[in-house]
Structure formats: structure tokens, C-alpha cells
């Protein structure tokens, strides 16, 4: 457990309990210094936008939050657990959806989800109930028994979401989740994020689609070349500018 990091975060809706706290995070991959001391806090029951151009360090940050990569310096706290000292505890509390929809092609949609439910330590007696609940929530019944290799991109993305949420994690991270999807499938993802927020989840949304961020996020942090260049509500970051995109272009150009 970590102790010195903020326990609360102030939003336009008042104070929220911190779910993910990133503190002076540094990371070098190869010869490239990807993160140069970034800090931010995402609260429970909010959609937190992690914005930045390609290569800004968004994916690396998310990979470090879910313990796939270790920080060179700095710390990450997820619901009171340090990612370096209690990686398994953190993984139990995090679900991640990425743009690259990797599913096991020779397993059916439902088999894919059951596999991850078991690996995520959902009690055996509850697996079926949880999987059915997720299938229902994401409206997947029509293709649940089909092999994943025969599913459309949107259906595969639903499988990817289902496996990320089947263990009901309090922290959900979406890394460019709509970049390979059509308009309808993208809308479903956005609706799902809003619904998750309403359920009290901490939703971290990494994107470079600023229109989505402006509509969905309670607060945003803009990263550029591994550093935080702006933080606050979309309105605060926008300031005098016309919209978030305009403000973003000013910050990163």
C-alpha cells in the first residue's frame, strides 16, 4: 500500500476518491525517453481523458498502470496498491480495452470471455453468471457461440470489452478503443464508458480523438513528448479557445 499520494481529486462535480494516482513517472524504452515525470490522478466515478498525439506516451502510461511495464522512476497507486509491490492486486482491479482487438480466433466469443474470467480469478461457481451478465449487458447473445475468427471488428471489440470487465474491475482503461471501429460500434463503446462511470468505475480514456474527449471526459490531461502540458476539465484546458482541438494544437505545436 502507498501512503503519500493524494486520496482525493477535485472535479467540477465536487471531490472524488482517487482511484489511480500517477506520480512523477519516468520511463525510457531503448534509447527513447518516453515519459519524463508525468503526474495525474483519476477518480472513482469519472471519465478521465489521457490525451496526446501519437507517440506522446499514452499507451506506455496505461501499460505501466496495468503493471505490464515497470516505472524507471516515480510511482503508481491503484486503489491503494503500488504497481511495483502489489502487481497481482492491481491486475485484479484493472480492466483494459485496446485498439488492437486480439481475440483467440479458434475459441468462440463466450469461450474467450470464460477463459479470461477464470484467469482473473472469478470464482468457478460464478463464472457462468458473470459471463451471462456481460453478454447481456453488451448485447452479445446473437454471436456468443460463434468462433471469434468469424466475427466482425465491432463484435470482436465487444469480446475484448467483455473479457476486460468480466471480473468487474473498479478501474477501466480504454486505449484508443474506437480507432478501428465504424460509427455505430464507436457509439456503443462511448455509451459503455458513460454507463461504467455511472456505476462508479474509474474510466481512463486514452485518445487523440479530441471531439470524443470533450464530450465524454470529466477531466483531461494532455501529454506531449512524455510531459504533461495541460490538466483540468475540458473547459479549463480549452480556456479562451474555440474548442479542445484548437487548444490542443496550440499546446503541442
Amino acid at each position: 500500500m502507498t501512503g503519500a499520494l493524494p486520496r482525493e481529486v477535485t472535479t467540477s462535480r465536487g471531490p472524488l476518491r482517487a482511484a489511480v494516482t500517477v506520480d512523477r513517472l519516468r520511463k525510457t524504452l531503448g534509447k527513447n525517453e518516453v515519459l519524463r515525470g508525468i503526474s495525474f490522478t483519476a477518480g472513482k466515478g469519472e471519465i478521465f481523458g489521457l490525451l496526446g498525439p501519437n507517440g506522446a506516451g499514452k499507451t506506455t502510461t496505461l501499460r505501466m498502470i496495468c503493471t505490464l511495464l515497470a516505472p524507471d522512476a516515480g510511482a503508481i497507486d491503484v486503489l491503494g496498491f503500488d504497481t511495483r509491490q502489489a502487481a497481482a492486486e492491481v491486475r485484479r482491479r484493472v480492466g483494459v480495452v485496446t485498439a488492437e482487438i486480439g481475440v483467440y480466433p479458434r475459441l468462440s466469443a463466450v469461450e474467450n470471455i470464460v477463459y479470461f474470467a477464470r484467469l482473473s480469478e472469478v470464482p468457478e461457481g460464478e463464472v457462468r453468471k458473470r459471463v451471462d451478465s456481460v453478454l447481456d449487458r453488451l448485447d452479445m447473445a446473437s454471436f456468443a457461440r460463434q468462433r471469434a475468427e468469424s466475427l466482425s471488428s465491432g463484435q470482436k471489440q465487444k469480446v475484448a470489452i467483455a473479457r476486460a470487465i468480466v471480473h468487474d474491475p473498479p478501474v477501466l482503461m480504454f486505449d484508443e478503443p474506437t480507432s478501428n471501429l465504424d460509427v455505430l460500434a464507436s457509439k456503443e463503446i462511448r455509451d459503455f464508458m458513460v454507463e461504467s462511470k455511472a456505476r462508479g468505475k474509474c474510466v481512463i480514456f486514452s485518445t487523440h480523438v479530441l471531439h470524443d474527449a470533450e464530450r465524454l471526459c470529466d477531466r483531461v490531461t494532455i501529454i506531449h513528448k512524455g510531459e504533461v502540458v495541460a490538466s483540468g476539465t475540458p473547459a479549463e484546458v480549452r480556456g479562451e479557445r474555440l474548442d479542445l482541438e484548437d487548444a490542443f494544437l496550440r499546446l503541442v505545436s
Binding site: R63, R91, V96, G102, R118, S120, A160
Partner: protein, 377 residues
């Protein structure tokens, strides 16, 4: 349910639905009897085939009958040396006091014809000498002062069968254990990476060592199934072939001592090969790259089996049993040929293979837990 078992079950389901693996196992089970059948037919044809001997001069009386008895056909030619290059299998010039023989050692037919001719000429010369001695009232027995009476300790036909098995069985076992698990090992490592499922898998709370163990056990299982399929089909095919003739005819079969040795060696090899191929697969970024990494393994591992073919009486010291794969071949050969378990060699072999398996497991685990697995694109 432990993570190892969860991963194992999922991998097995995926493997059983993978056409590539199933076709590989099916083909190997079919290929073995086909190869055996071809070998059997070629051997039979070679033994029964008539070879041509081109000759000049006068054929010694009675020699033509002896030659036709061993399927050597005489054919007059103008120049036996020239004819022996292509026209006939062997060239012979019958001179008054000697026979000049011409043959091309590069041609297998010439080698076989030469062996037959030498045998016949030996018998012919012995018979002539015996007749000459007898005509002078001398006992022909003086030509063989030490008569050899052979007393084989086991059936020569059975021994020939065991010699065949001692090469072929290790060869099949090693080949099938290695190749049977190739596709599955690459699919569950490089394939995961290529399909972008690896990241999701590593984000679960399941310890990576248990995930890897589940994968190794799945690949081991499929390797053993492939080996079992090939060996079963081999014995079914061998049951249709008999060695020798008449009352001495026997079918090739594995002696009871060799069976547990084979099972034990197969298990050790399967675990070791699975760890090695998974480690190499983890290094690869794609299935195709994985194939490039793993293919040389085939040649490295099949080489020891070939030693037994080319050096049939290879009688190594205990130190040789430290060499992985070669030791498996030797232990299996010893059990098949001698119908006994040599415990010192079996123990050294087991320790050697277990050490290689353990080392490969650690290497695979190290590769599987490093950050580069995800960041190297």
C-alpha cells in the same frame, strides 16, 4: 482451478481446432507406414533384382550356372571397361589365368553385382581347388584348417528386426515429438504476440510462470500424441511385414523392456523440446519468424539418430550419455537391442535431459517475463 490448468485446457482446445497441427499429426501417422512400405519394397526388389555382367573371353565351365543362381546375367560386350560405365552393371574380362573386373563404385548396382560376383567366385575357386586336391588324393579339408561352426545366441532374424527398430524407433520418436509440437508451441507464443492476445493474457493476475507451465504441458501433450500416433502406425505397418521365411519367419516387435524405457525417454524429450521451442517461439515476433528459429532444431536433433545408422556398433562411454538427444537414442537402442535396462546410462540420460529441460524452462520464463516481450515490435 489453477492458472496452469486453465491455460492448459484452453491451449488443448485451440490445438485440437487447429488444422495445421491436426494435419501434421495425421500425415505423420500416415507417412510412417508409407515409408516402411517403400523401404520394404525397395529391399525386396534389390534382393531379387537381376544385374548384368558384360564380359569378353571364355566363361569358365559351370560358372555361368552359379552366376545365374545369384541373379547375375552374362552378356557379351566388346569392351568390358567401357560397358561397365553405363551399359552393364559390371564388366569382366575372362583371361586364361585371371579375371579382370571393371566396375564403377559410384553406382550402387555395381556394388551389389560385385558382392555377388565375389561370393560366387569364392565358391567356384574353393570347389575347383577341392576337386583338384581330391583328384590327387588329398583331403580337401586341408583348405579349411579351422572350421567355424556358428551358434547364434538369439534368433538372427529377430536380431535383424531389433537392429532395424533400434534405428527407426528413436528416429520416429524424436522426429515426431519435435515436429508434433512445433506448430502448437509457436502458436501459443509467437502466435499470441502476432494476434495481439499476449498483452491481455499478461494483464490477468495469473502468475506468468503458471501461464507458461500450462503452455509447456499442452505442447508436451500434443507432442506425445503425435509420437504415439506415428509409433502405433509404425507397429501396425510392421505387423504386416515378416522377416525370414518358413518356420523362422518373425514379425518385428518391441521387447517388453524397451516399452517403459521408450515411454520415459519420450516424456523427457517432449518436456525438453516443448521448453526449447516455447523459448524460441517467445523470441519470435511472428509465427513465420518462429518457424525460422525452430527449423534448425530439427537438423540438430536428428543428427544423433543418424549416428546409429552410420555407426551401428557405436559403443560409447558413459560420458556420451550426457549429450542430450544422443543419449536418448543410445538408451533406447540399448534397451531394444539387449532387452535390458542399463541403469547407470538411463540415470545419466535422465539427469542430462532434465537439466536441459530445466535450463530451457528458465530461459523461456525469463523471456516470457521481460518487458521486451511487449515493447519489441
Amino acid at each position: 482451478m489453477t492458472a496452469t490448468w486453465i491455460v492448459y485446457r484452453k491451449e488443448i482446445v485451440e490445438i485440437l481446432r487447429d488444422r495445421r497441427t491436426l494435419i501434421a499429426i495425421g500425415l505423420s501417422a500416415l507417412a510412417t507406414p508409407i515409408v516402411l512400405s517403400i523401404i520394404s519394397q525397395v529391399s525386396t526388389r534389390t534382393a531379387a533384382q537381376t544385374y548384368t555382367v558384360g564380359y569378353t573371353g571364355d566363361v569358365p565351365a559351370g560358372l555361368d550356372i552359379l552366376l545365374s543362381g545369384v541373379q547375375l546375367k552374362l552378356e557379351p560386350v566388346a569392351d568390358p571397361a567401357a560397358a561397365a560405365r553405363q551399359q552393364v552393371d559390371l564388366g569382366v574380362a575372362f583371361l586364361p589365368d585371371e579375371i579382370d573386373e571393371y566396375y564403377d563404385p559410384a553406382r550402387q548396382s555395381a556394388e551389389i553385382a560385385d558382392t555377388r560376383l565375389q561370393t560366387v567366385l569364392g565358391q567356384y575357386n574353393a570347389a575347383k581347388a577341392a576337386a583338384a586336391l581330391q583328384a590327387k588324393g588329398v583331403d580337401p579339408g586341408i583348405l579349411t584348417p579351422l572350421r567355424v561352426v556358428p551358434h547364434p545366441l538369439s534368433s538372427p532374424v529377430q536380431a535383424a528386426g531389433n537392429a532395424f527398430l533400434s534405428f527407426f524407433l528413436p528416429y520416429i520418436l524424436i522426429t515426431m515429438i519435435l515436429t508434433g509440437g512445433f506448430s502448437a508451441a509457436l502458436d501459443s507464443t509467437a502466435g499470441e504476440r502476432e494476434r495481439r492476445t499476449l498483452e491481455s493474457l499478461l494483464m490477468t493476475p495469473a502468475p506468468r510462470s503458471r501461464v507458461l507451465l500450462g503452455k509447456i504441458l499442452a505442447v508436451t501433450s500434443i507432442s506425445l500424441v503425435a509420437a504415439l500416433a506415428a509409433i502405433t502406425s509404425m507397429f501396425i505397418a510392421l505387423s504386416q511385414v515378416s522377416l525370414g521365411s518358413g518356420p523362422n519367419a518373425v514379425h518385428i516387435s518391441l521387447n517388453p523392456v524397451a516399452v517403459p524405457v521408450m515411454v520415459w525417454v519420450a516424456l523427457l524429450l517432449a518436456i525438453t523440446f516443448s521448453s526449447v521451442t516455447l523459448a524460441l517461439g517467445t523470441l519470435a515476433r511472428s509465427f513465420r519468424q518462429g518457424q525460422a528459429y525452430v527449423t534448425p532444431l530439427y537438423f540438430i536433433t536428428i543428427f544423433p539418430a543418424s549416428i546409429i545408422l552410420f555407426i551401428p556398433d557405436f559403443n560409447p562411454s558413459l560420458a556420451y550419455y550426457l549429450i542430450p538427444v544422443l543419449n536418448a537414442v543410445l538408451v533406447l537402442r540399448d534397451a531394444i537391442l539387449h532387452n535390458t535396462i542399463a541403469w547407470p546410462t538411463l540415470i545419466v540420460t535422465s539427469v542430462s535431459l532434465a537439466a536441459l529441460g530445466g535450463f530451457s524452462w528458465l530461459a523461456a520464463l525469463r523471456l516470457f517475463t521481460r518487458e521486451g516481450l511487449l515493447t519489441r515490435s
